[in-house]
């Protein structure tokens, strides 16, 4: 892994040279070299962070609160802080390179009484803070858009060509992102700019030059050259980082060819069957699967090795290991899909409602404090404390019987409180209802009428508490509402592996029709077929769920890779193609394969091209 990374840095360092922000005209070479070394250091750290944080399986937040939790996770927080700090360093380099009024933090000035002292150069400060802000927002956006996710490409290309193709996009992204962050930064500085300024003045014992206009005013910030410099340095910062990211992605996802079998035992841990079965460095597993998919398509000689028998003993160890691993991957996905489908089917829509109804609990403060635990609880749908359950006609837990459901139905009609309080309009209407005592009484009555055993729990709620929690509810509702299709995305987050497994298996089976001399594939063919058919059924059922088949909005103008959003469609298409590949190759010979009657019926559909 190290050589490509070092190469990345060499290329990157060249790049930072090729990107002079402004013409470096007649100023200190020493400082220039120093800042260049600093920049290289920053890029090294950024590269290291990418290495540390990258993932091949994206983490998908199912609700806003989970996303917030992700953002506040210490790991990401440290990441953000480091980015912030490096942003300052890069901004300092920019300031030094730009020279003129940005160069130093302090400058000698004379007070009105003629006493010489050091004054604060606010232009320098604003640039440094801009660097910090851009760095911070970059890392935040990185978490939101899954920028640490590394996706693999369906089309193999040489690294140089791939880099060349992506470069204009990266430049465009960096420029627009810089524009937006500078805009946000300006707004923030306008309102909060005096805090860091006062702090710096205090700690460094600098003075404010009263003759110079302060920058945190509209007039001070509407300085075109200042805005331009802010934007260009932000672009430079983002550009260097994004190029590092791009090169990192390209080098990490480069096809690596694993040997299928090795003649030396000490190399055996590097062989494809061994690497495939290992769990831990996920990237290695993915690379191995990619290599498997490619070898099964393109190289007859390596396929031959897969089909070969071991020399003493005559066992098809290679094929067994590969097919077993692929099948276990596919079975794993099938089980996951079936489990998900079962939970959704039993709870129906009630589950999503229950997570919404938690919000009605009169303890929003508590909820805010421990988002993770409450989130877990709301998903599990367990009965809540008496105080909470007062407001939750839980259709899924204790009162899930149809009779009770019928009972709750009229209650739904008479008060908007029950049932699905999902739109903010209803919530805004609600306080009126509550402010009158009659409404409250009515509510209590109705509540008693259908659950008498709960009546003991009813406490008199003061209007104060109600108003309090209502005000917060809109926000919480927003935070807790499940993002549509996110759960579906999360289910298929690592489906790239399954896609390769399907491709690899199906191409190998296809090749075995003419290349497999010993018939090693034939023994596993029934299990491969039934595994694929079961998965096909599970995938078909999953796509019948709401949101599963809705297409995500395509976003093109960001560095984040959104491939993971469409993985489930790719998996569905690959699965079908894989089954067709096998049926087309074997044709009627498949009737001799021993599979269950149900699967045979399904297979016949494929043989007749009716799927």
């Amino acid at each position: 892994m190290l050589p490509p990374i070092t190469l990345v840095f060499v290329i990157i360092s060249k790049f930072s040279f090729l990107h002079p922000i402004q013409t470096i005209s007649g100023h200190d070479v020493k400082i220039g070299i120093f800042s260049f070394i600093l920049l290289c250091g920053v890029i090294l750290i950024v590269g290291f962070l990418h290495l540390e944080y990258y993932t091949v399986i994206p983490t998908i937040a199912c609700s806003k609160i989970a996303l917030l939790g992700q953002l506040l996770h210490p790991r990401h927080f440290i990441n953000s802080l480091v980015h912030c700090f490096m942003g300052v360093i890069v901004a300092w380099c920019c300031a030094v390179t730009m020279g003129l009024r940005y160069e130093t933090l302090g400058y000698p000035c004379t007070e009105s009484d003629g006493h010489p002292q050091m004054c604060l150069n606010e232009y320098h400060l604003i640039l440094l803070l801009a660097g910090a802000f851009v760095g911070f927002s970059h890392s935040l956006l990185g978490v939101i858009y899954n920028m640490n996710y590394v996706s693999f490409h369906t089309v193999q290309q040489y690294k140089y060509l791939r880099f060349k193709r992506c470069l204009p996009l990266v430049v465009k992204c960096s420029a627009t992102q810089a524009l937006y962050s500078v805009r946000n930064y300006i707004v923030m500085y306008l309102f909060l700019g005096y805090i860091p300024r006062a702090w710096i003045c205090k700690t460094l014992n600098l003075h404010l030059d009263s003759s110079v206009h302060p920058l945190d005013s509209i007039a001070g910030l509407l300085d075109l050259s200042l805005l331009y410099h802010l934007w260009s340095s932000a672009t430079f910062l983002l550009l260097t980082w994004n190029i590092t990211l791009l090169l990192f992605r390209i080098f990490v996802t480069e096809v690596y060819s694993f040997p299928v079998q090795s003649s030396f035992t000490e190399d055996s841990h590097q062989c494809l069957p061994k690497v495939l079965t290992e769990k831990q460095p996920m990237i290695l597993k993915f690379l191995a699967l990619q290599d498997l998919a490619l070898l099964s398509q393109h190289s007859p000689s390596r396929r031959c090795e897969v089909f070969s028998l071991s020399q003493p003993g005559g066992h098809p160890h290679n094929w067994n290991a590969i097919s077993k691993e692929c099948l276990s991957l596919l079975t794993d996905l099938t089980q996951r899909l079936v489990a998900y489908h079962d939970t959704v089917a039993t709870n129906g829509r009630a589950k999503s409602l229950s997570s919404g109804k938690d919000l009605m609990s009169p303890r929003p403060v508590f909820l805010m404090k421990t988002p993770a635990s409450v989130f877990a609880r709301s998903v599990a749908g367990t009965p809540q404390s008496p105080l909470t359950s007062l407001f939750t006609p839980d259709l899924d837990s204790p009162f899930a019987s149809p009779a009770l459901r019928r009972l709750t139905a009229p209650v739904d009609q008479c008060s908007p409180w029950y049932g699905t309080v999902q739109s903010p309009h209803i919530m805004r209407r609600a306080p009126k209802l509550w402010s009158t005592s009659t409404g409250e009484v009515e509510f209590q009555k109705s509540n008693i009428s259908f659950s008498t055993h709960r009546s003991s729990n009813i406490q008199v709620l003061s209007n104060e508490v109600v108003k309090n929690f209502l005000a917060k509810r809109v926000l919480i509702m927003y935070l807790f509402n499940k993002l549509p299709e996110a759960s579906s995305q999360a289910l298929f987050a690592d489906s790239q592996a399954h896609i390769w497994a399907l491709e690899g298996l199906s191409y190998l089976v296809q090749a075995s029709f003419s290349e497999d001399q010993f018939g090693v594939v034939q023994t596993t063919l029934p299990s491969i077929l039934s595994c694929m058919l079961v998965l096909q059924e599970a995938v078909d059922r999953h796509f019948k769920l709401p949101h599963a088949s809705s297409k995500p909005v395509r976003s093109t103008s960001s560095m984040g890779d959104s491939t993971y959003k469409t993985l489930r469609f790719a998996l569905r298409a690959t699965l079908k193609t894989a089954i067709y590949r096998i049926t087309t190759t074997f044709g009627d010979h498949l009737n001799a394969v021993q599979i269950s009657a149900e699967h045979r019926k399904r297979l016949q559909q494929f043989l007749e091209y009716k799927e």
């Binding site: 369906t154 590949r581 087309t584």
Partner: protein, 515 residues
């Protein structure tokens, strides 16, 4: 080298070619055979009058609505959305009463400069100045595309169903085993230049339209005759229109699309709706694509005298400059080792041989193309007078077994004695590659062939489907026993002949000859 002089003379008018049997093409007088042909469910006839054509184009509907004035900002935003930068400039220049003078002046100047640059660009690549309809007609494989009733045709690679794109922008799907013929219509489905079924899939059909690519998912079990436009995926990329050629990879995973306006070739991952542009400088666009049946190479011809052969593993390409004109058409042998192509302005068929393993194209590829057939004009005397056959070639198709090659000759629409005609060659790969004459395929009097395609898995030889200018679609079987069952390359085995499907319909067309 084979030439047209070795061919048997064309049929007298009134006779149509029915089939090849016992090594010769058999013909029949049209009347009773036409009845026979029409009795078969797959022979179709689309009379021009039956199609509802668009009386007015889409843009002209603007005039039907009242003009209402919007603010300059709104109009500018709309212009930016519809016409991009040039549209915005146009809008500013035209509304000179509302904007400051300097703004309208400067935008007018920029517009003039842009036009000058684009006209310069257009003089380098003359095809860029064509309208999109003309461009499709120019680069399509169909003869005289704009006047054609059947604009595109595609057999399903595995079953006996096919899709027909008609002049009224609808697509019909015919399947002899099902009573329903779904008709596909979509708002964006305009000027269909090509259709192709996805291999290893029962339902997906890619359609090259004027502004985008559509991928229809037509459920073969569904009884609906009008699938909703929700069944279609729309794939579009800015600047990538009109799409004139598409090609699925034989493994069914990727879709290539090309537009003569765009020098990039798009590789689509259809399920994810994402694309990878493959760009090479030179050529001014990509007009025709053909994927070799074994999946290892792709032919991409450009509107200028240059074509490329891509290798599909790492997507590198080899440049092949032509002397005279652009590469008009090309086809691959079933094992992907040989490419036949024709060049506009020349009357010969060239062959390129790729002997090496895929992935090493650049090291030991062919050095020069060899001429394998000469199709220069030859005069035949028939009872109706002399007929001149030969000239430029519109398209080439090779049957999936690699035994018959059909060549559509353009002819001369003005001269009555120079009809467009299909010449069929027998091909032989061993001991040396050569083309042998087989005969001409002719239709009814007055009908000229426009489009042809071989059935992908016909059991008894080859089956050539021809779409005629009068809206008729006929099938001409070539019965032969192939010398050696062609050995497909590995990835090519989707094309393996399918034993259990023997369409009885094709046989009854010519049963009286087949005794």
């Amino acid at each position: 080298m084979c030439s047209l002089a070795l061919f048997p003379p064309p049929l007298p008018s009134g006779q149509t070619t029915l089939c090849e049997s016992n090594n010769e093409l058999l013909s029949g007088a049209s009347t009773e055979d036409r009845l026979k042909q029409e009795s078969s469910p797959l022979s179709l006839h689309f009379p021009r009058e039956s199609l509802k054509l668009h009386s007015r184009t889409e843009s002209s509907s603007k005039a039907a609505f009242l003009d209402h004035s919007e603010t300059l900002w709104m109009r500018s935003a709309a212009a930016w959305r519809d016409g991009g930068f040039t549209g915005l400039l146009n809008e500013i220049t035209n509304s000179h009463t509302e904007v400051p003078k300097w703004l309208s002046m400067s935008s007018g100047c920029i517009l003039a400069l842009l036009r000058w640059v684009s006209s310069f660009h257009g003089s380098l690549f003359p095809h860029l100045t064509l309208s999109s309809e003309d461009m499709i007609a120019e680069f399509s494989q169909v003869l005289n595309w704009s006047d054609c009733v059947v604009r595109a045709f595609a057999w399903h690679p595995h079953t006996d169903k096919f899709a027909v794109a008609l002049l009224d922008d609808s697509i019909k799907i015919y399947n002899p085993k099902s009573a329903t013929t779904p008709t596909l219509k979509h708002r964006l489905q305009r000027s269909v230049a090509a259709v192709q079924w996805k291999p290893l899939c029962a339902s997906a059909l890619a359609v090259a339209c004027q502004n985008c690519l559509l991928v229809w998912h037509v459920d073969p079990c569904s009884l609906s005759t009008r699938p909703s436009s929700g069944c279609a995926q729309v794939l579009s990329h800015p600047g990538h229109s009109p799409v004139t050629s598409i090609a699925w990879s034989p493994s069914g995973s990727l879709l290539l699309s090309a537009s003569p306006m765009d020098s990039t070739m798009m590789v689509w991952d259809v399920a994810a709706e994402s694309c990878v542009p493959l760009q090479r400088v030179g050529g001014g666009g990509v007009s025709f694509l053909s994927w070799s049946p074994d999946g290892s190479h792709v032919l991409a011809s450009t509107p200028s005298a240059l074509f490329r052969v891509w290798e599909t593993r790492m997507w590198t390409c080899e440049r092949w400059p032509c002397v005279k004109g652009r590469c008009q058409s090309g086809c691959w042998s079933p094992d992907g080792s040989r490419l036949l192509f024709t060049v506009q302005g020349e009357m010969v068929i060239y062959a390129l041989t790729f002997t090496d393993a895929p992935g090493q194209l650049s090291h030991s590829g062919p050095q020069a193309a060899a001429v394998v057939a000469d199709l220069s004009e030859t005069t035949f005397s028939t009872p109706d007078g002399d007929i001149v056959v030969g000239g430029e070639i519109q398209s080439l198709v090779w049957d999936p077994r690699g035994e018959r090659l059909a060549v559509l000759l353009k002819g001369d629409p003005q001269a009555a004695d120079r009809p467009a005609i299909i010449a069929v060659f027998k091909t032989r790969a061993n001991p040396i590659f050569e083309l042998l004459p087989c005969g001409f395929v002719q239709g009814e009097a007055g009908a000229e062939p426009r489009l042809m395609q071989f059935h992908p898995n016909f059991q008894h030889g080859a089956l050539l489907t021809v779409c005629w200018s009068n809206g008729r679609i006929t099938h001409v079987p070539f019965y032969f026993v192939s010398a050696g069952v062609p050995h497909f390359g590995l990835s090519g085995s989707p094309l393996l002949p399918h034993p259990q499907q023997r369409p009885a319909d094709f046989v009854n067309q010519s049963q009286h000859h087949h005794l």
